[in-house]
């Protein structure tokens, strides 16, 4: 009889412990190990990219036959790689009187509104000489010489003209964000304002500032 009771109690205790042990294990895991680590959130785009450049410029453009005049405009660029970038530009100037108009003293060949010279273009630029520019002993700036060329539209003398442009420029980074540019650009288009088709070269030199963002 004693034996039977002992066996029953033993079996019961084994069953109870086998049932309880895993439950105990789980509870103690939660209580004993308290995580002391604040997990950082994983952000998908956590690093700021600065591949766009926007800015304004001012300079001089020599409009063929219509003398040299101030030009100003805005530019935007997208830097695809360290070597190549796309640039879009919108600029405006005003043509002066031709030498003939000044000397003859007769009636002007174009109306005032037709003398407005506006252009826009898209170009691809290549940073061919990246490096550092040293100014005396005290200053050093990152800089790059680039060559650039593209196609666009010029509106002048009451019509629009298909224009090819090419040139070169120098970009000096004052800090990571602000750049100073000097640019020289030739805008070439065929124009028949005076009867026959003629190819005109309109050379522009300008300087300006841009911001990377």
């Amino acid at each position: 009889m004693d034996n039977r009771i002992k066996r029953a109690l033993l079996a019961a205790s084994i069953i109870i412990t086998s049932l309880q042990t895993p439950v105990f294990g789980q509870e103690s895991a939660v209580q004993v190990i308290e995580p002391d680590l604040n997990r950082r959130k994983i952000e998908t785009d956590a690093i700021d990219t600065e591949n766009f450049e926007i800015g304004a410029y001012y300079g001089v453009i020599s409009i063929e036959d219509f003398s040299s005049n101030p030009v100003y405009g805005v530019r935007g660029a997208y830097h695809v790689t360290e070597d190549f970038f796309f640039e879009a530009v919108y600029g405006m100037a005003e043509g002066d009187l031709t030498s003939f108009e000044k000397l003859s003293g007769g009636s002007p060949l174009l109306s005032d509104s037709d003398r407005d010279y506006t252009y826009y273009n898209v170009s691809v630029g290549w940073n061919i000489l990246p490096g550092e520019t040293f100014i005396l002993d005290d200053y050093v700036f990152n800089s790059s010489l680039y060559i650039i060329g593209g196609v666009g539209n010029t509106e002048f003398a009451g019509d629009e003209w298909f224009t090819v442009n090419f040139g070169a420029g120098f970009r000096l980074l004052l800090n990571d964000t602000i750049a100073w540019h000097i640019d020289m650009r030739d805008h070439i288009f065929d124009r028949d304002t005076f009867g026959s088709d003629e190819t005109t070269h309109n050379i522009e030199i300008h300087t300006g500032f841009t911001v990377f963002f």
Partner: protein, 249 residues
């Protein structure tokens, strides 16, 4: 126009100040170097000299990215530019590499956006086009194209939306076909007698080849046939041949 220019300059000034004030230490990701060393350049390009070496197990903060270069700050305050390739191999506190953690460092994924411009001939006149496209898959993309052409008798501009299909996108010289439509403005030249500007719908079918130049750039040569749906008796058909450059990003 002067007001416009002042406005632009003002907004640039605002941009600059906001860029400066956003400099908060806690916002930057810490990355631990796992390779023997990484080189810090003074600028974002291979032409800028190496001025510092950060060693294995050091940590750097990732400040910003320009093209494939990342500006980092080391524990002792040196700031320089490191290639994206090197940064992708660094790890965070949990041992995850930056290449896995930040999709912007993975360089083998499908680049979905395309931007480019092209020039050429549109029915005997000069033309240029700027376009942007979105790639749904490697085979299929949707493109918005803005064109202008300049003729002796009239100039015009058009805006079209095109669906492009590349049957073999993995080929270096990958052919494509396009189908689209849009609107077209025709402006007779001012040297001619006054005639009215016309606005017509236009349908475009085309074919061409995309030639991959590098991972990010490709050359595109294409032929398009434009059917201009005029409100006169006959529709006008114009052939266009262009060549251009695209960037993928």
């Amino acid at each position: 126009m002067r007001h416009c220019l002042t406005g632009i300059l003002l907004s640039i000034a605002l941009l600059v100040t906001s860029a400066v004030s956003a400099d908060d230490e806690a916002d930057y990701i810490d990355a631990y170097i796992t390779v023997p060393y990484v080189e810090l350049h003074t600028g974002p390009g291979r032409g800028y000299p190496v001025f510092y070496i950060a060693e294995r197990d050091q940590s750097v903060k990732l400040l910003k990215q320009r093209t494939s270069w990342v500006k980092v700050r080391t524990e002792n305050g040196k700031e320089g530019w490191v290639t994206q390739h090197s940064v992708a191999k660094t790890i965070d506190r949990d041992g995850l590499t930056m290449g896995e953690k930040l999709p912007q460092f993975a360089d083998d994924g499908l680049r979905r956006w395309e931007l480019g411009f092209m020039g050429g001939d549109f029915g005997g006149t000069d033309t240029f086009t700027a376009y942007t496209g979105y790639h749904f898959t490697r085979n299929l993309s949707l493109e918005l194209a803005l064109s202008e052409n300049f003729g002796n008798f009239s100039s015009g501009e058009s805006a079209t939306i095109n669906l492009l299909h590349q049957p073999f996108p993995q080929w270096r010289y990958s052919p494509f076909f396009s189908l689209g439509g849009g609107v077209r403005n025709t402006n007779p030249r001012s040297t001619l007698v006054e005639t009215e500007d016309r606005k017509d719908d236009v349908l475009v079918v085309g074919a061409g080849v995309r030639i991959s130049l590098s991972q990010r750039f490709l050359l595109r040569v294409q032929y398009k046939k434009h059917t201009i749906l005029t409100n006169r008796d006959d529709d006008i058909e114009v052939e266009e041949w262009t060549i251009g450059l695209s960037a993928l990003f």
